[in-house]
Symmetry: D4
Subunit: 212 residues, 8 copies
Amino acid sequence: MADVIYDRDRPDRIGMPEAILCEGKSPEQIAAAIDQALQGADNVLLTRLVPAIAEELSISDYDEESWTGIAGTWEPPAGEPRVAVVAAGTSDLRVAREALRTLAYHGIPAAEYADVGVAGLWRLLDISEELAEYRAIIAVAGMDGAMFTVLSGLVPGVVVAVPTSIGYGVSRDGETALHAALASCAQGIVAVNIDNGYGAACAVTRLFGLDR
Amino acid sequence: MADVIYDRDRPDRIGMPEAILCEGKSPEQIAAAIDQALQGADNVLLTRLVPAIAEELSISDYDEESWTGIAGTWEPPAGEPRVAVVAAGTSDLRVAREALRTLAYHGIPAAEYADVGVAGLWRLLDISEELAEYRAIIAVAGMDGAMFTVLSGLVPGVVVAVPTSIGYGVSRDGETALHAALASCAQGIVAVNIDNGYGAACAVTRLFGLDR
Amino acid sequence: MADVIYDRDRPDRIGMPEAILCEGKSPEQIAAAIDQALQGADNVLLTRLVPAIAEELSISDYDEESWTGIAGTWEPPAGEPRVAVVAAGTSDLRVAREALRTLAYHGIPAAEYADVGVAGLWRLLDISEELAEYRAIIAVAGMDGAMFTVLSGLVPGVVVAVPTSIGYGVSRDGETALHAALASCAQGIVAVNIDNGYGAACAVTRLFGLDR
Amino acid sequence: MADVIYDRDRPDRIGMPEAILCEGKSPEQIAAAIDQALQGADNVLLTRLVPAIAEELSISDYDEESWTGIAGTWEPPAGEPRVAVVAAGTSDLRVAREALRTLAYHGIPAAEYADVGVAGLWRLLDISEELAEYRAIIAVAGMDGAMFTVLSGLVPGVVVAVPTSIGYGVSRDGETALHAALASCAQGIVAVNIDNGYGAACAVTRLFGLDR
Amino acid sequence: MADVIYDRDRPDRIGMPEAILCEGKSPEQIAAAIDQALQGADNVLLTRLVPAIAEELSISDYDEESWTGIAGTWEPPAGEPRVAVVAAGTSDLRVAREALRTLAYHGIPAAEYADVGVAGLWRLLDISEELAEYRAIIAVAGMDGAMFTVLSGLVPGVVVAVPTSIGYGVSRDGETALHAALASCAQGIVAVNIDNGYGAACAVTRLFGLDR
Amino acid sequence: MADVIYDRDRPDRIGMPEAILCEGKSPEQIAAAIDQALQGADNVLLTRLVPAIAEELSISDYDEESWTGIAGTWEPPAGEPRVAVVAAGTSDLRVAREALRTLAYHGIPAAEYADVGVAGLWRLLDISEELAEYRAIIAVAGMDGAMFTVLSGLVPGVVVAVPTSIGYGVSRDGETALHAALASCAQGIVAVNIDNGYGAACAVTRLFGLDR
Amino acid sequence: MADVIYDRDRPDRIGMPEAILCEGKSPEQIAAAIDQALQGADNVLLTRLVPAIAEELSISDYDEESWTGIAGTWEPPAGEPRVAVVAAGTSDLRVAREALRTLAYHGIPAAEYADVGVAGLWRLLDISEELAEYRAIIAVAGMDGAMFTVLSGLVPGVVVAVPTSIGYGVSRDGETALHAALASCAQGIVAVNIDNGYGAACAVTRLFGLDR
Amino acid sequence: MADVIYDRDRPDRIGMPEAILCEGKSPEQIAAAIDQALQGADNVLLTRLVPAIAEELSISDYDEESWTGIAGTWEPPAGEPRVAVVAAGTSDLRVAREALRTLAYHGIPAAEYADVGVAGLWRLLDISEELAEYRAIIAVAGMDGAMFTVLSGLVPGVVVAVPTSIGYGVSRDGETALHAALASCAQGIVAVNIDNGYGAACAVTRLFGLDR
């Protein structure tokens, strides 16, 4: 079997632990990576760990909704939320919660705002005052990605857009939402890869600095 | 030279006169088509007629902003506007005005609302009550096309989206705006080809029936 | 589990009830959305509800051919058809019937014309007089989408094109039919997303106004 | 300067003379290729020879509408037309005439039918009896390419589709017309590259055998 | 269940019977279409009929290699082959045999040449004299589609290219082979849709005229 | 002429002044927008203002290298740089300097690092200690965009990737660099649209808060 | 069943044995190809042979990690490695090992370097001296493909890039890594198809000459 | 003006001098880069230097056909050719000669074979014995790129494919030729970016080692 080398020196260099992306790895490969990780650290984050594979492994803290797990001992952060994670639709929640879990693992409390897509603009307007308090907002949306632009026009913080693969036809598995974020007529929006809630959380963690 | 056959029987069959799309035609071809058209009708609409070519022809009514002309005798319609044409940005105006001119040529009065893109959401909210009175709204926007979805959530009428080729990079000459219209998380939106203000006006004319 | 918020105030604002798109949702999420919907309304439309999932839910009115269901109490509309729904091939029928069911749910009677693709042009010519009576026609076709253009040249009403993902190779899951609708050499055609029979029906409902 | 080698043995092997594609070649390169060709043959066909370049060369028979020239001595074929070349719109004529000239150069008489696009279906129906007499029809159309399918349903001969780059937006420089030809719900259609009138004529020449 | 209308008048009009494309249809829909077809004809061709579905139906003549069936009574044609069907690789055989079966059903005898891809050029050169006798050659190849160009340079007949979806990565499910056929530096090549052996055979049948 | 409405209330709402994107606007439209802007503010930023157009306008502070101008009275910021702007190649400098000018206009001092592409990895390693001091780095690169990933592995700050349209062939006008940024095997990278130096600077300004 | 013809004369002509690509072939087709191959040679390489199919065949030397098998008798090469095979991530190992096995089958010893992606640049720098000794390096990476450029700047040998389909979203099944290799700002990189470890090994074998 | 830093230490590290890509640079930027280069070396290669720009600079050795120049003092290599450069058509010669000049600049003699595209297969077969003597062949072709596969089946050396942007329609500016090279049914082919003759020569130089 392929040896899996876990990058133990990473936190020192760039201030952040490496996570284990489980997609495309066998349970054996994941288990080996966890073992190696826990030799040099108290815990390790696992992403894109589908329930079927998670059952075969002994993960102390597995979350079915975000497909994330944390192996080892770990405490969630306390205190006021410093980041808002905003999801446009019900189907965007898995990705939004991957971002929330990653932030929590990095010691950064965050608040979730769900089902505030712009087809029902009032829901978003209702919380715009609240959202205006955050320096950074992770926005999660698929289909047309119109929420990114509207949000960016309502708040002074930076909007980290996470396009999702939700939708069909010309949604093109998230490409339309991604392009809408990047081609926005508003400014203040930056984007990560489609469905990459983990990456959005890492970028925000870098902004604030890791707190663990 | 190629003979240009103008379809004189068209209004009887589908209730609408054929227009002459000037793009890709020589001044001679356009002049020949006008001649033929005016043998069977009082006037004819010319679209995508750039100023440089227009100067070489004797068009009684040429409009530089919409690149449209009307040859022959013609009277603009009077009365209350029945359609709203909404443009997101200054650069979208040529296309919006092609729609307005086409509606006017078809005898349908319409109202223009300019520079109401969703990056400045308040401008659009300010006129939403007014827009809610129209049965059909032609919405013209490039870049991310976010205006289509927001508009559709604010009004009960049908939104005919005209994506424009305004923008750069991932705007892809209007493809992103088009896909945003079609993949919208809202409903009640239909779309025409990129920059096709003429086509949007024709579809709306069919809804109301030609009035000439 | 993710909370599913149903938008109860929607009919007041834009004149149309929100439907529940079941694709990508678990039976539990769908059931929760139905419960919430029926607290504020007599019924709710479910779309893209595949038979396997439908069996797990207690839907009073499920239709296998259109993959739609209506939960709650509901009466189909009576009276003369106001819209024609035209399907090119046998394989386009699921999408065509999603449009028909949505229209019915919105209180708008409609007529179905099946298997009238332009490869056998005579079938379409045979019904062209009849189709010419409708103000709006929902046209459903995959592959080359040639029916959209032909239809638009035969009737005075607006043609709402629903490209379908039927076909293989360069059909590209409906992209070719969509582009054919938008790039048509005819006018009077507007388009919705690939396979989006629901969206076409909603646009037409907006034209006529909701009748429930 | 690059030597240009003209393939003099070609007619013997595959029954057809090579032509000189002038696009992307300098007048000097074209002149050299002509010289070489005329050493082994009485004449040679030049394609995509724009008027500006043609003026710099001494071509005995240059045709501005098709951008083709024939150097050397040459006689057009006489007799009944054996192939029909059908063009959908005025803008498609350059490509249609490239096909006609190539057929003539190959000794095959052909008939032109212009401006018979399916937006005005009656024009095409009017000539369908006539077209049904041909074993092969070269059909030239841009935009949605709907003519290919309709034509194929009206006649028993093979339809050689030449998509053109006419159109804008989702026409994608001929890609939509090409895909419509290939994804057609009708059968009996084969396609050549976009704007390739020459290639369509060559394929038809192979069917009949070269007659020079 | 959806009614399936079989086009019985087709042979009279365009000289060829309609076939039943089974892909995307349920066994019930296929059976209904067969019933209707056999009321007006002695037999009917079924394409893309996978073995699993074929087992559920009582098809008198089913061929597992080409996924085709012929319902009703039918006699294969006798006599010298009039068309060559050339397959580049083993994996291209299903499509090649769909073409062969369709030709046979249309009464046209044809010869198969297998595994003559140009990576091993000698195999193709060995049979080039033989192939030069045919007026039309159906060429079936995936991956780079290089065989189309080479073949076209070796024979005087028309080459009907059938690109296949064989390959991976930049083969793009047949798009590269299709584009290679259309962009060929040789002439005399026409193409049909990816994997469309049936369509290639129909085009060739139109060339020769149906013989049944 | 089209009226150009400048959004004077914008700074209050989202903490940042709107800039005037000059691309696609006539000198008259730009001049009108400047006039309107200077009625409510001391200065206004102009982007994508090519030298030829700039000459026709009286801009107090025009910079040829970044194609930016600032109309009105304005003072560059003083103090230590808070952001690093890193350009991979000489050809990326126009975009990098658009970012620098925008930051300066927003009152944020920044430092430029030029010609540090990863083909010559040592140049980047030489400055990695220095770059590690910044909370945010704007990275500008075209072609393969490999610099984004390497940079992100060397520093703890967030990397705002600006892909540029530099390159040819499969660079696809910046698409490859954009995709490389988004698909990076590293984390901590966010992206803006191709060539959008202005947008990257705006996002960073939002992080720090506007300082004017 | 389709006859499978194995090209026995191939080694004489181009110096290399043909392998059997098992993907898309049935176990019977593979077995027939092996039989034919072993009539003219001592052994034959099988690629893309998934474990489930391998179990049904009696392959003397099957390797689960590379999905390769060698039928017949065979000895691995001895001696110093002449080629380095470098894999960016754990998920790239299958493809890397396909290259290693192919080299071994061709008699060329090679060394594997795993998990040296550029997100952790130090790992790659640590082995750069070692890698600089090789005339040819096969580099295997997915996602952003940044390793290709960095590697090429560190070593004097040629870099044969094998992009892999590892990644999601804009990775586009390996297209982004492929384009990054080809659009590299470094030189000395050549590429093969996505996931084509076999092809990279064959190219390198041609460089050195087959040694069996 | 932007400073242009020339990488003087490059030859020591990776065994090859950096060239100056002139495309997209102003004459002033090119002149500055030359000055800097000649401070640390006897000569420097300039690529993509169009004649119009070359005239403004004083390049001792400029070649109009390849758009390359060599500034400083320089001697072409003597001796037997070690590499073959094969061009399919006349229009491919600029790119082929960029490769030849780059090889010469690197001290590697090479031989040119022009106009040997596979549409006229015999030309290529005629020289196949000769080509079989080379360890490496640079193959330059546009359109369908069929030459790459045929060549690879005729010779034992490695084929470095340089797809060119020659062609129209589905040639897609070289993409089809590139994909044909990568998806080839033959093996032993590696590819560089479209039109990148320089890159192909650099890769071959790395194979042989720089000889200057």
